[in-house]
């Protein structure tokens, strides 16, 4: 076991943890978005989806515990790397100019990450731990939340932050895992941008749609 822990204490090991947990989140985000799109089909479709989810109770429980463990690792490692990287250059440059490699995503990973984390706490509080009953289903909780313009704005900000995080995170995780070859890297980079746009637009449109129509 010692070698196992030692591996993840190295610089490359820490990156591997970020990549594996980040990949897990990408999978979750894709599922979550697909499920939530049922909101566009109306109350019954959404409640049927929620019902189906609850039917998979054991699976959901395992997935939730997995995501929680992943979240703890991703946030803790992200913070560790952020602090270590700041520490690696004590005296900053007076002038620092990008040669063109950095982009908005790569330059803001810790900050978009923090926005997502804060949003997550609010989001779980809004919906996962909400009181629901037969006359006030999760659908009513969701629509009541998005009747407030303030919540719509918060959800929009979070969707944009998530898209920016994924814009860099997607291809970056493949590089971290050692998967970079001319054969497929150009495609991975394109898919990453497309994924970021779809996720950002998808999660942004849901609150806007519900605010305007319900």
């Amino acid at each position: 076991m010692n070698w196992f822990i030692e591996t993840f204490r190295t610089s490359i090991g820490k990156k591997l943890l970020m990549a594996i947990t980040g990949l897990g989140f990408l999978g979750f985000i894709a599922m979550h978005l697909m499920g939530n799109l049922t909101l566009f089909a109306g109350r019954d479709a959404f409640l049927a989806y929620v019902e189906a989810l609850h039917g998979l109770e054991a699976f959901i429980l395992v997935a939730e515990i997995g995501l929680l463990v992943f979240a703890i690792i991703h946030v803790f490692m992200g913070l560790t790397l952020y602090l270590a990287n700041n520490n690696a250059r004590k005296v900053r440059y007076a002038v620092q100019k990008s040669g063109g490699g950095r982009n908005i995503g790569s330059a803001t990973m810790p900050y978009t990450g923090l926005v997502i984390l804060l949003f997550l706490i609010l989001h779980l509080n809004n919906f996962s731990f909400a009181d629901v009953s037969d006359d006030r289903t999760i659908y009513e909780v969701v629509t009541a939340t998005f009747a407030s313009l303030g919540y719509v704005v918060i959800y929009l900000v979070a969707a944009v932050a998530l898209a920016i995080h994924i814009r860099h995170g997607f291809w970056s995780l493949f590089q971290s895992l050692g998967l970079n070859h001319d054969k497929y890297m150009p495609a991975i980079r394109k898919i990453g941008i497309a994924f970021a746009v779809v996720v950002g637009a998808g999660f942004a449109l849901i609150p806007i749609y519900l605010n305007l129509t319900v």
Binding site: S11, N85, S106
Partner: protein, 250 residues
């Protein structure tokens, strides 16, 4: 076409005995655009010596872009604004008349400033000492070439072997990470048959040495590859990650 330009230089000055330095402003007058950046600094230094002032210290050796001794951050970029060019090969024709140029040393905790623009890159040597070599004698070119390798492998190993160890990757990295340097050495040696027997041991000990020396961690910003005077690809970092995982689980 040769012409002469005047420049204002903002240069970082720092003494070994002092933990802190600061910028000094110098005028570089009548600089021929055919000069290299280092020749321009030579002119400025000659004038400083005439004025009985301390010349600006900077590292240099071959002045033909092959030794990796020179280097400074010029206007925010390692080795200046010209791609795939060392500072000694950067010509003044790339600058405009009356321009102000900011010149700083490589900045990384692992590279302490020795004086002015000179930093101690001994940390890179320590990483090499940890495993960046082939222990077995491979003989002269004749013997080494007896083992045939594919053209693709030879090309990839050569791309990595073009690393001159100047440290620009560390300087350019927003996190002061040395992963491009280490990745290049891992690839250069590990891709070739003579280097393969020690590949596992090499990646394990070089990565650990890198971690110990206070470099930052790669976050795939790709600034290293872009500012590297030899355009060494970040695919070498991916190969190092891959080799490290393979070595760890086997």
């Amino acid at each position: 076409m040769t012409k002469n330009i005047n420049l204002t230089l903002k240069v970082w000055r720092q003494n070994r005995s002092r933990p802190k330095g600061g910028f000094e402003i110098y005028n570089a007058k009548d600089i021929s655009t055919d000069m290299s950046f280092l020749e321009m600094l030579d002119v400025v230094n000659e004038n400083l010596i005439v004025e009985k002032k301390e010349p600006i210290a900077f590292d240099h050796d071959c002045r033909e872009g092959i030794c990796g001794t020179c280097g400074a951050v010029v206007d925010g970029q390692a080795h200046g604004p010209q791609k795939e060019t060392t500072l000694c090969q950067l010509h003044m024709r790339h600058f405009k008349n009356n321009e102000t140029i900011v010149i700083e040393p490589w900045r990384a905790r692992a590279f302490p400033v020795v004086k002015d623009l000179v930093v101690d890159r001994g940390a890179l040597d320590e990483i090499i000492a940890a495993g960046g070599y082939i222990s077995a004698k491979t003989g002269g070119p004749q013997d080494a070439n007896n083992i045939l390798i594919g053209k693709e492998i030879a090309d990839e190993a050569f791309n990595a072997a073009a690393c001159i160890g100047c440290g620009a990757c560390v300087a350019a990295c927003p996190n002061a990470s040395a992963m491009l340097f280490v990745g290049a050495k891992i690839s250069h040696l590990g891709l070739l048959p003579q280097g393969r027997p020690e590949a596992k041991k090499r990646v394990m000990s070089m990565v650990r040495a890198m971690d110990r020396l206070g470099f930052g961690n790669c976050s795939n910003e790709t600034e290293c590859e872009i500012q590297c005077p030899k355009a060494i690809s970040i695919k070498n970092i991916a190969r190092m990650n891959r080799d490290f995982v393979k070595a760890s689980v086997s």
